[in-house]
Amino acid sequence: MTTPEKKPKKNFQKHNPAIATILSILFAGLGQLYNRRYIKGAIFIVIEGAFLFAFLEAINYGLWGLRTLGTIPGVDHSIRLLVLGVLSLIVTVIAITLYVFNVLDARKQAQKIKRGWVPLSFKQVIKEVYDYSFPYIITFPGLFLMIFVVIFPLLFSLLLAFTNYDLYHSPPRNLVDWVGLDNFKNLFTVPIWQETFFSVFVWTIVWTVVATTLQIALGFFLAVLVNDERLKFKKLIRTILILPWAVPAFVTILVFAAMFNDDFGAINRDIIIPLFGGDGVAWLSDPLYSRVAIIMVQTWLGFPFIFALFTGILQSISKDWYEAADIDGASRIQKFKNITFPHVMFATAPLLIMQYAQNFNNFNVIYLFNEGGPAVRGQNAGGTDILISWVYKLTFDTNNYSMAAVISIIMGLIVSGFAFYQFRRTRSFKEEGDI
């Protein structure tokens, strides 16, 4: 703006941004034509034409399906309609974004022309377009895939929560209907749902907090022990301690499931019965013991990662800190509390939070260990089921899709709590946002 512009010619002053805006609202590209950017205008017109030609009917149908979920049982497949509806919604949002972009582009250009801006040569235009669209071109494949694999399914599940899609309302024989907030109401008022939800929810929280905290505490403790200067064979010890992380988890979980087996598992047969006598502990058939066992298994699986992480941090703490503390006559506990602990926690807080989030959704351990069992009277979830494994069972065992979606949404809300924390933590995010 500071560079002096040529005095606008009369011709340019007449150029009206409002006309460009209106024209481009009428049909994408017209505004660009008015601005005498013929190639750009033509491309925009072709895109909108193609869009109208190819998609308009499909989108119309999709949105109709989304609204009604079909009207004729046996003919209209509600779930397909829902899928098409969500896809149409996504396409519509993209189209609207492009459209708004087109209008803004025409307007900006017209204003520039009015100020006496001389259009670039064809070659320059090509280069400009290439530079401008480059980031979009290279992100396209990744984002395209992400829209279909992540965003679309999440939207779809969100919508399912407001339908009555279950075993009795399943296409193609029957239609699925919108039921508003009924599912949420049922979850909190129908006794069996209410009880199950409450007990699963409480156990999920207990599981997340206890299992994760235990694995962090054990990892931390061992990292501090092995960091002791007097210790020999450190490399070997570290390798051994990392071993549980290196073995594929599904293998170890299934092995543990066999070892904890009530009748012929090694834990009962080789440890509990010889030491304490009796018939052994009902590891898999009693909810309480099952929970204890599963927490132990997760601790075994999870501590090596923390151990490895903390070992790295401990080695990076400067010795000067400890020497200064020695001069001041600090005790070992004081040194730990005021130097080691804050250092480690500060450096790894985000990763630790992620550990909690991971265990909150740790389907593998729960399902592979005991399939969420044992069964509990008066509930439709097992004794060790956490929310996510309950959702799995509702989906694939009892086909109660809408309830599964409701619980997914509740989980989503909790998980966004973790996300919110991560946002706040990333103070640098604001700066990272700008280049």
Partner: protein, 279 residues
Amino acid sequence: MNSKLKSKLELTAIYLILAVVAVVIFYPLLWTIGMSLNQGTSLYSSSIIPDNFSLEHYQWLFSPESDYLLWYKNSLIVAFANAIGSVVLTAFVAYAFSRFKFVGRKNGLYIFLLLQMFPVMMAMVALYIFLNMIGLLDSLTGLILIYLGGQIPFNAWLVKGYFDTIPKELDEAAKIDGAGPIRIFWSILLPLAKPILEVVALFNFMAPLFDFLLPSIVLSSEENYTLAVGLYNFINDQFANNFTRFAAGSVLIAVPIATIYLFLQRFLISGLASGGTKG
């Protein structure tokens, strides 16, 4: 003298604790190896030190009756495709987000951060129906596409963080010399970002080998199984009966994977720590 004795006692205590931990770590692992060497398929008559040592389960796995080698091949196909594909996709996405100014950039970053939190699991019904509609259910291609799309939010963020640490002056110098954006990407950023790209490749190579849930939803016919699903089925049907066979199959996966892991541990941790703490 007193403090020396104290130090010795402490050291002994540390060694003792570590010994106990080592026993707890080794017990299930050795038990699995022991089981795999037992004759017969019954868990009840098997023990950690086999009375009648035999390699029959290993032989069975390589015999034509078993699909084990096929599963191994499937798992490796998925793992390699996922490793290569995710490096290519995320490197491009991260490049755009790290170096270019464009509409939707900032919101895109927020969306990545948010989506990282949601496991694919929550959307499994939709994925199942969707794959079914486009005819990719029960195929390795469908599985790979889901892995590839699902890893983007996390890894794009990780790689973008790393790209941000590479000075922009390098790009600008190259631009003055006439290099285009592709050229800058190829000959400046990629070589410098090799460490983080290797971490992404390795994580995405390992993920399909470790994963049970997604393949168990997507794959339904036995010749398409990956190792995790196949092995689970050994023991799922008749738990006690095929456990020894499962143990043998597990040993053959765990040994190579654990070896790779232990070799690369230092490098894995540093990559994760640098990406994770930077946010």
